[in-house]
């Protein structure tokens, strides 16, 4: 594999993270395993639910990539069962492109979702993003605990990835804007550098690497700053999210 295909983000992981890939298609299993190994992960594989459970009990796993369509128990059931005893982050894979699968997947406790056919680097970026998010949050706090984030009358539903304004109207965000907002919501009233924000948004929008972060910020501002300033420009340092942020289940 050429050097160019190596995604830079993964190299920033401090230690070698272990990823368990669960898929019934052995071809996919070996391809994904090779790809992730090459990009700096320790990889284990499982073909079904019982193999997955066995593997989890014997090894320390940092993240599971779980196929939704598995023989016997499906991915959703496995994920729901898993959440009863483990907080291991899960990225759900599905061949269906329907939004509903993602929502259900996230509701049963998956941390992210990827529809087949997906770009390998997209998977890499998601793994890195989920690892970064889950390592930052307090231990034992599984996904699903903080699905709803509120600020200045706005509500962000992270299950549906849906932002609602104070009047209850849904305001659509691009993936870049969404990631940017998530980064702000994780650290309100703190100055975030351009580099940090660039890193936060780059995980998803791989094609927009060189897109100036200021453009993304101004787009986000145009959408959420209707009558008051929410994002403050700190000259020479970066940006700061002004309002208070509260989190809750519903």
């Amino acid at each position: 594999m050429p050097e160019g295909s190596r995604a830079t983000t993964t190299n920033r992981q401090a230690r070698l993270a272990t990823v368990l890939v669960v898929d019934d298609d052995s071809e996919i299993l070996s391809l994904v395993a090779r790809f992730l190994q090459f990009n700096g992960f320790a990889v284990m594989t499982a073909r079904n639910g019982s193999e997955m459970t066995a593997c989890l009990k014997q090894n320390s796993v940092d993240l599971i990539v779980l196929d939704l369509m598995l023989p016997g128990a499906n991915g959703l059931d496995l994920c729901r069962d898993l959440r009863r005893w483990s907080a291991v982050p899960v990225i759900m894979l599905t061949a269906k492109g329907d939004e509903i699968d993602r929502i259900i997947g996230l509701e049963v406790g998956a941390d992210d979702y990827l529809a087949k056919p997906f770009n390998p680097r997209e998977l890499l970026a998601r793994i890195s993003a989920v690892l970064r998010r889950t390592q930052a949050r307090p231990s034992n706090q599984a996904a699903g605990a903080q699905r709803l984030v509120k600020f200045a009358g706005w509500r962000l539903d992270t299950t549906k990835r849906e932002l609602t304004n104070p009047q209850g109207i849904v305001v659509d965000l691009s993936t870049g804007e969404y990631d940017l907002l998530l980064a702000f919501l994780d650290a309100p009233q703190r100055v975030l550098s351009r580099d940090f924000l660039m890193e936060a948004t780059r995980t998803r929008t791989l094609e927009a690497f060189d897109r100036a972060i200021d453009v993304q910020i101004s787009r986000l501002r145009r959408k959420i700053e209707v009558d008051q300033e929410l994002i403050k420009t700190v000259r020479g340092a970066g940006y700061m999210f002004i309002p208070d942020v509260t989190r809750g289940q519903a």
């Binding site: 594999m1 050429p2 160019g4 295909s5 298609d25 071809e27 996919i28 391809l31 994904v32 090779r34 790809f35 061949a95 269906k96 492109g97 329907d98 939004e99 509903i100 087949k116 056919p117 997906f118 770009n119 390998p120 849906e162 304004n165 009047q167 209850g168 109207i169 849904v170 305001v171 659509d172 965000l173 691009s174 870049g176 804007e177 929008t205 094609e207 927009a208 897109r211 787009r219 145009r222 959408k223 209707v226």
Partner: protein, 454 residues
Amino acid sequence: MNRPSSAALFLRSLFDGLAARTIFIVLIGIGAVHLISLWTYHHALSQQAELAGDARLADQLLSMKRAVMREPQPRREAVAHDLSGGPMEAHWSLTEHATPGGPGTEQWLALAERLKQAAPELDDGGLVIGANRRSADDPHLAIISMRLPDESWLNVSLVRTSTRSAQGHGTLISTSLMALGAVLLSVVLVRWLTRPLTVFATAAKGFSGSATPVNVAEEGPREVRALAAAFNEMQRRIARLLDERTQALAAVSHDLKTPITRLRFRTEEIADPSLRAAIADDLGEMERMLDQTLAYLRGERTDEAMQPIDLVAILATICGDRSDTGADVLLGGSRSATISGRRLSLKRAFGNLIDNAIKYGKKAEVTVLESPDTIEVRVADHGPGIAPEYRERALAPFVRLEPSRNQETGGFGLGLTIAQTIITGHGGTLCLSNGAEGGLIVTVRLPRHVVAAG
């Protein structure tokens, strides 16, 4: 070249419906029967009247003849005079006044014949019917001369009056009323008879193939029942056929996703970066085609709920994403416009329209205009536009207008179809037009979100 006149068009529009035509036929039938029976009736009536009149005349003449015969000659003229009255005037003389021939000869001969038939006694001594000997020029005045046994003559002058009466009016009105009643009744009956056909037309129009077919009630006359049964069966067959086709297409599209995923991973191991990029582009195109096919097959059957949503934010997201990849996209007009809609569906619809504008028109200019009831979104490009005669075809599924255009851009010809389905599903409209300075303009109108009171 021969265009029907306005009168013909008017007639055609008047008798366009089955009901009107049936009533027209009934009307002609009733009219014909009506006229024929009226004529037959009148003919029989006048014949009867003529016969009766002849018999009466014969009786009168006979009784006159007898009365005059009984009297002595000097008193005969006086008696004849006394018996005169009405159209008849009788005179006694030694010679006959009538002369055969002259104007109206056949008429008199026929009368003589009929009188002889009615009362053979009249002809005992001799009977001459004809014009007046002295003034033989009045065709209406007939003289009937009867010879008495003593060789003298009784001459009765007779004015032929018409027996035709004006009694027809009453009959005409009553029979016309009857015909009118029959027509009114037939209007109701024909309506009742043709109602199943209207039901068929509605059912056929409503049949979309995707939704569950609405069965037509199998009732009415035998032919209509048979038609309803056949129609329902045909609906079921078409629905099943479409369903099978959809299932097959969806299964193929769906199953292709796994091999494409595998190819994606295998591509990562290709050393040549340009080859890797080219294959990745091909795979991306295949993905988009599968994605569009599945979106088309799914139609409006989406799990998303309708909610108040800012359309401008959606357009801003699409335009931002496209300009990030280097496309020339402009968004102008209102800064916010709320509609009631499904976020992902709308994103797909407008994404397709904007992508088309970029692909075929080099540049997408998106404008949002607000009016009291609707939000109008115009997507204009700088391409060749679409000629009016091709616009309807452009909205049909799997239609690509210019093969040359699609070789470089790919696609299935589903983009506009999907967009239109989604917009229509939101209660909106989508129409195509060409700009004044060229280029295609896609105008989408969506109903504005109504804020619930309180």
